[in-house]
């Protein structure tokens, strides 16, 4: 029984069957990749996990509880954090403030009327955020305006915002898209070290096969909203069905 159990999930957009009978089981503290051609429904599947979309049918269980019908912030408080395909950060705030906000959320819950203390006085939160920024090599940018950074930096910041929450399940939607080569390698190293600590379950969508094969322990191939195969990376590499789905796309 995995920490995440998706059973029979369907989602239609008008006439388009974006997800058709998706089953997925992710074991605790492993790294699971979802690959598939553009428009296969990968992002839609993540949307169903975090409460952005509600599936037409099926069930999504996390840590023994259903996430369906819960609000996004409740699902996050259950322990699911998500990095989006286009970075979602607080563009008007500084980098440090961006990382402090999830720290407050983790400590104080969904709402706390915290109007009397000053942010300056919150040394613990500040330290926690600074340590996280050091881990992702962004400490020198702490006072920078988050919105004016490069796309690669925004992604790294978003990842820091998710990691600092110490989620049980981290969902990553193409975390290296738009990153320079060096940044991609740093990100792979970071994600590898997280995987090897075995305290966080990761579910990653990725186009870059280098990233997928160096990180994932199991891979699900999604095509036209339906899982084709699920197996260990070595078996996926030469799988005929995967070649078929990717024909004309990346070399597998």
């Amino acid at each position: 029984m995995g920490i995440l159990e998706v059973k029979g999930v369907n989602k239609r957009f008008g006439g388009l069957q974006a997800l058709g009978d998706v089953n997925l089981s992710v074991a605790e503290n492993t790294c699971h990749a979802i690959i598939g051609p553009n428009g296969a429904g990968k992002s839609t599947l993540l949307n169903c996990l975090v409460g952005k979309l509600i599936p037409d049918s099926g069930s999504v269980m996390f840590d023994g509880q259903s996430v369906l019908g819960r609000k996004p912030h409740e699902i996050n408080q259950m322990g699911i954090s998500r990095v989006f395909q286009t970075p979602e950060i607080f563009a008007d705030l500084t980098v440090l403030e961006n990382v402090m906000i999830p720290c407050f959320a983790a400590r104080d819950g969904a709402f706390r009327m915290h109007a009397y203390e000053t942010v300056e006085a919150e040394a613990d939160i500040r330290d926690m955020a600074m340590t996280m920024l050091e881990d992702v090599n962004m400490a020198h940018k702490a006072e920078e305006h988050a919105g004016s950074m490069s796309r690669g930096d925004k992604r790294r910041l978003e990842m820091a915002m998710c990691l600092v929450q110490k989620p049980k399940l981290l969902l990553l939607d193409e975390p290296t898209a738009g990153m320079a080569r060096a940044d991609t390698n740093n990100t792979i190293e970071l994600l590898k070290s997280i995987r090897d600590r075995r305290t966080i379950t990761m579910c990653i969508i990725e186009h870059d096969m280098n990233v997928v094969f160096s990180l994932a322990e199991r891979i699900t191939v999604l095509a036209q909203g339906t899982p084709l195969v699920e197996d260990v990376p070595d078996k996926i590499k030469g799988h005929p069905k995967v070649r078929e789905a990717y024909l004309g796309e990346a070399q597998v």
Partner: protein, 419 residues
Amino acid sequence: MTDQTTQTGAIAPQADRSRAASGGFLGLGFRDFRLLMIVVALTLLAPFLLNPFPEGSAMAQFNAGYPDLMQRFVIFGIFAIGFNILFGLTGYLSFGHAAFLGVGSYAAIWMMKLVTTNIIPGIIASIIFAALFAVVVGFISLRRSGIYFSILTLAFAQMSYALAYSVLTPITGGETGLQIKSTDRPFLDNLEPGQIGRANLFGIDMRASQILEVGGWQFTFNVGYYVCAVVMILAFYMAIRIFRSPFGMMLRAVKSNQQRMNYTGLSPKPYTLAAFVISGMYAGLAGGLMVAMDTQVGPERMFWTASGEVVLMTILGGAGTLIGPVLGAGFIKYFENIVSKINSDILHGWFAFLPDGLEDFMVAIVYPFVGKGWHLTLGLMFMAVVIFLPGGLVEGGQRIARLFRRRKAADGATKSAAE
């Protein structure tokens, strides 16, 4: 040489941060404390600062240091400070905040009619009733965002205005409004038969004034003004604390990206509602003070133009800045009360030194912008600010300061090069 400058450049912000962190003064960082002290000095010295021209001089009409107007400066300052907590931090543009001002005023005057003419209970009641009303209006209006939110708040305020004007006449006095009358017997006061109660603070009359004459100058120190000034300083201090608190940071997060907030385990709605209620309480406080200064209230206080005015004040001064709303309120009230009083006789007086034809020509040109035309000047100024200074008057001030600093730096550079 270059080495040194880059080094100090790198160290300076660090030092600044540790100074801010050390706090010390009333829980404020150094710069915030300095700002607070400037505001304290300006408000306490306002009777001098606003009356720079001797009585009877040609410029005396630009003096704004009379109690009635000074009270309005600080009361509308409070209104705008509160409005800015909602609009400046969360970005939610309420177009109905005058409703809370009105509710506060009605609550205060009933308190003074029924309980006591001491202003304290009235002001407390104005805050409480505005808060209760803001909870209801906010809860419903915040179901939507953007323009729909603005329209919902506008609808609530216009509804309140219409009700106060008609159906609720028994409570609001309808069109004529409410005043303190000789028949009012507040039960905590021992008034003589037929005596009209006067707004007071533990017996000190709000209308009492001390006049100080120095040479040709005349300065008026009014009890009511100083009561309002102290309240505004407290309101300003609380606003700084809110801006610098984790709560304030969450409100800026609401403005920046609600989606990210949701997926970070935070619920934006209670944060926004709290900001809405707090700003409604500031509006109620302003309404209560208005009654404390001038014991009457009418429904026009809730009319939509009054809601629009506080929006203008905040944007003109600089939304999201600490001092901006106060500046904006001061500017607009100054125009409304001073520039509006310049009539054609005064203009003829100013241009009398010119030959007759030219005098009439100048008067004809200037006239549309002053007197009853003050709205035109204000409108043009507002447009100029929005187009060229999106950060309001505060941004204007910052640009000027930066210009000076750069010039100083350039001077220093040429000097050291010469050496």
